[in-house]
Subunit: 338 residues, 4 copies
């Protein structure tokens, strides 16, 4: 079976395993007091061209939820897209970590939130005790439908959010893919555009089991560290998480892996452009195939039908280590169908 | 100022105050072990023509949230209408009481959920750990737009819910108004149609500060009583809450008050039927007046503009003690406008 | 049966019912926007001789828990006595309202916390993420064993608490009894001694179903009002709660009722002083009777054995409306036993 | 600096890294649907000689808290030792994961709970809604003071617990050390003695970042999997966690590493037996040194003073890779002091 289900089926990059092996000698202080963990802020600070505070956690769900809980009180609400991972794929983790805050949903093509729709949704809230109060905006970069937000789009959303006392969270499970796709700097896609906290994804793009939470204002980390510990997300042997993050940046792995994943996906999109159901941008390809062709392809390829039952849509995702021959085979099959 | 803002601006019915005065002598065991509290199950059992368990709480928000928390686990979700009180007017109380369960929204005219829309929304959920699991349906009777669910409509929704492991909650803040409007029995509108737990509203219809939570299956009360205590909702001097509930039923107050409120509202609806923006059914009247007429009416009448800013819609609510002359004045003003 | 189980078995004072009847006419804005609720701050401000913010809730458990949740984060801990009501009698309400904060216990005679013991307990905590952080001290006035804290004792505890970033909460379910017992002013027993927030009990001393939460620094109310709404503790028809609180103060009811309760209890204590197991101070009397005498008394009197099984201790509580003849009968029985 | 601070400062065993490298090829289904994760139940079932359900999580805190949340409702309480890790070192994680359950503390020498003390503590609880209800007993094996529970001791505690509707949790962060110390089988120390769920520690004894939660009754897993996902503890690339657990068992690493750690610690204990403040049993050594000797040793050795400030006690922990020469140096220093 050739897998295009998700970039999370991929193996771990050699660079990551090498970094782990390299630190695996002798004793090191636990819980992040080791010399490698102490480099996190500096390494990511250089990457983002500003002072940051960076914390490792074990999953994207934890990264998102802890980011949100730091800014959104229990009586607050997070505005996010109806197809966002935090809404659809985390089993209510943001609600758990915040102590019962609400997600308030916005719809929009490409799983993107448009500024006008954000404004319209905000108009429903009133500053009284009867309703939850908007305190956070969470956007996904790249989105759950493979689209990206440009720096200008982020800025427009962030300005609206900040004017309403909302902090801006970016779920960057595929942040590297979005950076590569847009040929902009990590800084331009985050703090320069108004992002306050980023879930910086590493696992889907070559990592093993560490993601980074990046705060762009070191003074607003608030009680994040207590919440992380309390959630069982403070790694005992911190070095093994931290070097996944630092080597991801310092070896350029983030760029190489995302470039390859995006490039392979581009081939798939180009194989049957008339079938595309979403404009192609990153490492995800969405196609309207119809149920019959989906069934046919499923004999040889592993992938997810997308959307509600009967939509006839399918999603193909390439990762850093999707085999070239699997991509060729899929392209050939799609060309034959188109 | 003549008030049509809500039925919660009304005073308390004489019958309720008399019942309170009547039990106000001597010592009585606290926390519901008094003789009056012990009558709750029997009185409501007769009213609903079945065995029930009944618990007093201090507010509708508490009644709804505790009902929901009894059936819906933290990783569950409550399907409800986007305009439901539990979604829009309780500051996230269901999320708080459940430990972070989610509300999943369905839209529909009249703030009602249609069976087909419930099915369509359910189709989005999958029985895996990545998403929250539907465990409860909550409908409002009468709805936030004054509509009612018929026994057949409730049955259709309940059958869908029960087939998906969901319990059925009815927010009956205006339950008496819905019963009167439909000329059906309380039993027909609840357990006979598949309702598992009812927030039985008393306060808006003549009560002071007690609502009833009614479980129609005494074996499914689960840990409700622990949750009620833990939420500060177990009244110390229980008799004063319990007699509000029993006298509401036994004196026929529920019927008299709802009949009057509905009758007054009917007059308003009849004064300018061409302005109605919702079909009239209970004690709420919705009209499309336009911002100018809203501003004009607001000089003499207290009422709420409804819906998003600029919708030009207004809501008028009658209570059991809305003065006849206030209704006449409003009718005259509306007739003059129409 | 003559009841000495608790002051919460008492009826409601005439003054309270009269105040409720007096406001029971016509419409009033809901949720605390009525003219009577708007007097709360002023009435209690005068009583405490300082600017305060006052909020009504429906129970002592709610008052305590909402007070605590306002100051103590989920990763914080509340230092309190092992016999405190918040630890032993509220089914984990503080843990629920705070989102999982911890209570850390201190022992001490009379259910009182001594300054030295507070310091010793604090020494166990370290300012790192591995342990919860002390953020609140909660003391009970009068205590669960009938003792009182003097202004000097409170000041000593508050100084320690404030030096450790802890706010000071007083559970004043029997605050009036403590004021009367000590012949000091309400101000001296609270903010002048360092109390930040008070659960001001009304129910046990003549009220029906309203308690007051009093913040002594109006700038530190924080998100209390959101939390109250979200907990179902914001009364819809606010006037009926608010006038219980204001009439309790303005008619002098707090004083008259507490004086009588304390006076009756004093008679019981004087009837068999050699049996007292706690020094007598307020309206609670603790005696070491032995299981046999407890069984004998239980035939005529309703009261609670106290402490762990087999301790042979009993508690007798007088309320504002305990009948004189019941007290006489108990005194006679005790004298016969002693 | 020679480190005896904790076994969590150790590196990762070669066997673990090799197992990770071995599975690092090609695509594998995410979230535990891979072939290696699917072996967990079988491998641990053989180890424990019974049918089990096993789940990987990223930390001991997560293992403990998720175990507890599966059995203990929000209105429940966990009886545990006052020095337990879940009470003192997890920043309130059990309270967070349970939605606000309480820990109720028992004291006892060696950080062990004696059956009589458990019974005495249980006597304080009553089966009514006013107090939290005991629903779980959590014991640590080996304890935070290096002691072990024998099978008979566990059985005695478990019988008491089960008779009171409490499930039995074992925090086995150092489970392997306890097995080795007692020369009994893993089965004898767990389910045969009444343990319902085990936090099986791997990290401190050679692992990287995976611990196992072991349910001994496959029918009582309840909603554990939803809670794990919701807590961000379901690893995306599951194989890298699962093979840490299976290789730990299958290569005999658990035994070799624990044997070495215990043996090294025994040397330290033997170097100055007269200074021991706790009987020696596993890989932790507690000594009463006095503040002066602690200061002196601290120049060359990294270790923790233990207990409250001024106690003069110190803890030395050996891990699987503590250098022999570090142990020799410490022994020499202690001998010189004794």
């Amino acid at each position: 079976m050739r897998y295009f289900k998700s970039d999370n089926t991929a193996a771990v990059s050699t660079e990551i395993l090498a970094a782990i092996a390299e630190v695996n000698h002798g004793a090191a202080l636990a819980y992040g007091a080791d010399q490698w963990s102490e480099r996190l802020d500096a390494v990511f600070g250089q990457f983002f061209e500003t002072r940051v505070r960076v914390f490792a956690v074990s999953s994207g769900t934890a990264a998102n939820s802890l980011s949100i809980a730091t800014f959104c009180p229990p009586w607050g609400t997070v505005l996010t897209h109806a197809e966002a991972h935090i809404e659809r794929d985390e089993c209510g983790a943001p609600e758990f970590f915040t102590g019962g805050a609400k997600l308030s949903l916005v719809t929009g093509a490409g799983a993107k939130i448009a500024a006008a729709d954000l404004k319209a949704r905000l108009a429903w809230f009133e500053p009284h005790v009867h309703g939850v109060q908007p305190r956070m905006l969470s956007i996904t970069q790249a989105t759950e439908r493979g689209a990206v937000y440009s720096p200008a789009e982020i800025r427009a959303l962030a300005d609206i959010a900040h004017a309403s006392q909302m902090a801006v969270h970016m779920d960057g499970a595929r942040f590297a893919n979005a950076v590569i796709a847009q040929k902009v700097s990590p800084a331009e896609l985050t703090w320069r555009a108004g992002v306050d906290v980023l879930s910086f994804g590493v696992i889907k793009n070559g990592g093993m089991n560490a993601e980074a939470v990046v705060f762009f204002d070191p003074d607003r980390v608030a009680d994040f560290e207590f919440r992380r510990k309390r959630a069982g997300q403070l790694a005992c042997k911190g070095r093994y998480a931290s070097v996944q993050l630092t080597s991801y940046i310092e070896t350029g792995l983030w760029r190489r892996n995302a470039e390859r994943a995006n490039r392979l996906a581009a081939k798939i999109a180009a194989a049957a452009p008339q079938l595309l159901s979403e404009p192609f941008a990153t490492n995800q390809v969405f196609m309207k195939l119809g149920d019959e062709r989906i069934a046919q392809l499923s004999r040889e390829f592993g992938f997810y039908p997308w959307g509600p039952t009967g939509s006839g849509e399918a999603r193909f995702v390439c990762s850093w280590d999707t085999p070239d021959e699997d991509v060729e085979a899929l392209c050939a099959a799609l060309r034959a169908m188109a």
